[in-house]
């Protein structure tokens, strides 16, 4: 039940990213990575194992519409694993921690992408492909959306848990 719910929200985030955000002129060229923010939340809440599996599936779904099957799953798997290590080790406040996590998550994603472009020779100029003005905008959007989304996800998690139950079960 837990896995189904999380995968559903993940798919929903990707759906919003690939459809609804296109209707907002502000997100014409660069969009916030809602799936990444959700992945970070899930990983920090449920741990590395859950995080990496969620990341793998998230990456696969993302690859269906953006190409490079495997690339996004690699990045998201590793991201999920890394942020999952913070479960139980970090105190989560409603604002600063999501902002910091979103910041490092975006940078980590960009670095991984650059490395994979380089290793697998996927782009002719990997540095310019990754480290450009688009990254700055994506960073900004992710930082802004992170606290709001974390608030929402926390709310949903509490609702799903109910009295006497936890989603960790």
């Amino acid at each position: 039940m837990k896995y189904f719910f999380i995968i559903s929200i993940l798919a929903l985030m990707l759906l919003i990213q690939s459809t609804l955000l296109n209707f907002i002129p502000f997100f014409d060229k660069v969009k916030p990575d809602l799936a990444l923010i959700f992945l970070i939340f899930v990983s920090t809440q449920f741990g590395s194992v859950f995080g990496m599996y969620t990341g793998f599936i998230s990456g696969l779904i993302e690859s269906f519409t953006s190409g490079f099957l495997g690339l996004h799953s690699f990045i998201k798997t590793l991201t999920g694993f890394v942020f999952g290590l913070g479960k139980g080790n970090v105190y989560y406040d409603p604002f600063f921690i999501p902002v910091i996590m979103a910041f490092f998550g975006t940078i980590f994603k960009a670095i991984l992408r650059f490395v994979l472009f380089l290793i697998f020779n996927l782009k002719s100029n990997p540095f310019n492909e990754v480290f450009n003005s688009g990254l700055i905008f994506e960073l900004l959007f992710n930082i802004i959306f992170a606290p709001l989304l974390f608030l929402f996800f926390n709310f949903v998690k509490k609702k799903m848990s109910g009295p006497g139950r936890t989603l960790d079960d």
Partner: protein
């Protein structure tokens, strides 16, 4: 400890690391074999499934957006419709004015033609007003002193194929004048019957009647007069030149104790339809 047990123990203790390694390996293989049929096919299937949901979301948003746009467009169309209605009403008004102008132009052209037919010099003028009190029947015309109009100038008009007497100029302004019609009881015109040549004096019976009275016609004329006979100005000791039609005989009253007839005339000019007049200029004293 058996080998199997140690292997299982190793897997259990390193579950996390092994899972990570496994997933990253799968991802790497997918990247390496990207584009090959083995990888492309699952990607196509995944794309078909995911894009199905994308289509639903995009379609829904487009529908909502089109609905709002339609409402907005409907509002704009309504505004344009109201504007167009106003414009059409304005153009209808312009068209009506144009038709009137055309008619006026036609009439003026005819009047101009008639003006040249009158032997005596004349100044055409349009009727611009009438006495609102319904007492005197005074007519206001749009020509005045600056146009050469002077007091007591005779005024005629053309109706039903005849030039008929309207009256005389009463007062003159700079660009307009008043005309005392022959219907007024203070306006006397020396006249005669066109055929029988009997003379008399025509005077108005008041503007409400729109009839004229011809007085001092010899009683013996009764046998020679016929209903409908035309009465014209005689020109004798009169402001009015001779030969201008005044009216037609409508009725005869003969009283035994009187030596003259009291005749009723119907004016040739229908004063209620008067639009344009000709003010006759005196040849000697223009």
């Amino acid at each position: 400890m058996s080998r199997n047990y140690r292997f299982k123990d190793f897997l259990t203790r390193n579950k996390r690391g092994l899972s990570l390694f496994g997933l990253l390996s799968i991802s790497s293989l997918l990247i390496l074999f990207n584009g090959t049929p083995g990888v492309a096919k699952p990607q196509e299937i995944g794309l078909s499934v995911f894009s199905f949901f994308q289509g639903i979301v995009t379609g829904s948003v487009n529908w909502i957006s089109q609905t709002f746009n339609s409402v907005d467009e409907l509002r704009k169309l309504r505004e344009e419709y109201e504007k167009a209605k106003t414009e059409i009403a304005r153009y209808n008004g312009i068209e009506r004015n144009l038709l009137e102008l055309k008619q006026e132009n036609k009439t003026l052209n005819e009047l101009l033609k008639f003006s040249t037919q009158i032997e005596q010099p004349n100044i055409p003028a349009s009727v611009i007003g009438k006495d609102p009190s319904n007492i005197t029947g005074i007519i206001v015309v749009g020509k005045g002193y600056l146009d050469g109009i002077r007091k007591d100038m005779p005024v005629i008009s053309y109706q039903n194929g005849l030039f008929g007497l309207v009256g005389k100029v009463l007062d003159v302004g700079l660009s307009s004048s008043t005309v005392l019609p022959i219907l007024d009881s203070s306006n006397f015109v020396s006249a005669r019957f066109q055929n029988s040549r009997y003379e008399g004096l025509v005077v108005g019976k008041g503007i409400n009647d729109e009839l004229l009275s011809m007085q001092f016609v010899k009683k013996r004329a009764q046998s020679d007069l016929k209903t409908g006979e035309l009465v014209v100005t005689s020109g004798l000791n009169s402001l009015y030149p001779k030969g201008i039609s005044i009216g037609r005989l409508k009725g005869i009253k003969a009283r035994d104790y009187e030596t003259s007839l009291d005749l009723e005339l119907e004016p040739v000019i229908t004063f209620s339809k008067l639009e344009y007049v000709y003010i006759l200029v005196d040849k000697v004293n223009p």
